[in-house]
Every structure is written in structure tokens, then in C-alpha cells.
């Protein structure tokens, strides 16, 4: 069975500071990896995904995540955050084969302070 661990439930940072949201997963098979974001009073939406190829993937709003197979991690980073990045971020994993469901971590609430 798969599991996802997001090590920080809350991360407060100042505007324009860098941020890293940590995600580790456990799986006995090859996986796809995702980050979803939930802005205040909105539904979850896909931020970025790793399917294959380059282990570094980017979103349109400056976030990036790197798949590290040896460390079973998929940490999310942004070099300079903005107030509008305030949201809850969820890491998720799914099997490349077999179980057809997305398993989510518990979420990290990112709060940007001016």
C-alpha cells in the first residue's frame, strides 16, 4: 500500500522568502507524483505532476518539485513567495499500474506574511 507523509502541517514564511514543502512517499511499485493546491474557499486544483522523464517539474506560477527516487521524496519549492501563494498544499501519489486511486498526504498550510 502507498502512503504519503508531509512533514510540516504549517509553514509560515515572509513574502519574497524561499520556501520548501516536504513530501515523502512509500510505495513498493513505481509511482506518479502530484502536488495539488487548495486556495482559500476554493476547490483543489493540480499544481504540478511528475509522470516520467526529467525529475524536475515546474508549475506556471514559479513552483517546482524534484522527484528523488533514492530518497522517495517529491519536495515542492519556490525561490520567492507571494501573498497569493497562501494556500494548503497536498502531495499525492498513484501507482503506475494496479490500484487506480490517488493517495494524499495530510497537507501543508502555507501562510505568507507581509
Amino acid at each position: 500500500a502507498q502512503s504519503v507523509t508531509q512533514l510540516d502541517s504549517q509553514v509560515p514564511v515572509f513574502e519574497e522568502a524561499p520556501v520548501e514543502l516536504r513530501c515523502n512517499y512509500s510505495s513498493s511499485v513505481s509511482v506518479y507524483l502530484f502536488w495539488y493546491v487548495q486556495y482559500p474557499n476554493q476547490g483543489l486544483q493540480l499544481l504540478l505532476k511528475y509522470l516520467s522523464g526529467s525529475t524536475l517539474v515546474e508549475s506556471i506560477n514559479g513552483f517546482e518539485a524534484e522527484f528523488n527516487k533514492s530518497q522517495t521524496s517529491f519536495h515542492l519549492r519556490k525561490p520567492s513567495v507571494h501573498i497569493s501563494d497562501t494556500a494548503e498544499y497536498f502531495c499525492a501519489v498513484s501507482d503506475r499500474e494496479g490500484a487506480q486511486k490517488l493517495v494524499f498526504g495530510q497537507g501543508t498550510r502555507l501562510t505568507i506574511n507581509p
Partner: protein, 115 residues
């Protein structure tokens, strides 16, 4: 086009009553998922449908929970004899195909409060 639509957006019910939560997926999406989001608990997988079939019901918390999907479209999640621990936001998502790499599109959820 229209996204995933869930109704009602909020539901307050008394303990012991039955509730039905509805999900309208994106047109043409063959896969549909139900998740539950409780405070501090992240997203808990409940059930998924491929077409009208639900191959994996292992996530349903108890036999008070059931779900169905008709016409490969609308899905209903039913909770019988609701308990206070059922209070949560119930999220529905759909995807184009049932594959691990197919992104999920989420609705805004139904916030269920059992008093």
C-alpha cells in the same frame, strides 16, 4: 466548460438521519472519485467509479456508507444513520480516464455537519 459540480454545498443534519450527496462530473470523464476531508486529516479516499462500476469499495468507512453512479455520469454518496464523526467535507473528483497519471478535477465539496 463546466467543472465538477457538487450539491448541496452545505448540509446540516441531525444524528441518525440519512443524507445524500450529489456529484456531477465533467462531461466525458469516465472516472469518478469520492474523498473525505476532515480537519487535520488530509484527504481520505472513499471510493472510485470506472463508468458505473465501483471495483474498489475498500475506503468506505462503514456499511452506513454507499455510493452509486448512473449513466456513467452523476454519482450519489449516501450516508445512513449519520454520526457526529461523519462531519467533514466530502469531495468529488473526476478524470478523463482511469489511469494513475490522469489528473483529477475536484468539485468544491459538500460540507456535512452532523449535530
Amino acid at each position: 466548460g463546466a467543472g465538477v459540480s457538487q450539491s448541496p454545498s452545505n448540509k446540516v443534519t441531525e444524528k441518525g438521519k440519512d443524507v445524500e450527496l450529489r456529484c456531477d462530473p465533467i462531461s466525458g470523464h469516465t472516472a469518478l472519485y469520492w474523498y473525505r476531508q476532515s480537519l487535520g486529516q488530509g484527504l481520505e479516499f472513499l471510493i472510485y467509479f470506472q463508468g458505473n462500476s465501483a471495483p474498489d469499495k475498500s475506503g468506505l468507512p462503514s456499511d452506513r456508507f454507499s455510493a452509486e453512479r448512473t449513466g456513467g455520469s452523476v454519482s450519489t454518496l449516501t450516508i445512513q444513520r449519520t454520526q457526529q464523526e461523519d462531519s467533514a467535507v466530502y469531495l468529488c473528483a473526476s478524470s478523463l480516464v482511469l489511469l494513475g497519471n490522469s489528473p483529477l478535477h475536484f468539485g468544491n465539496g459538500t460540507r456535512l455537519t452532523v449535530t
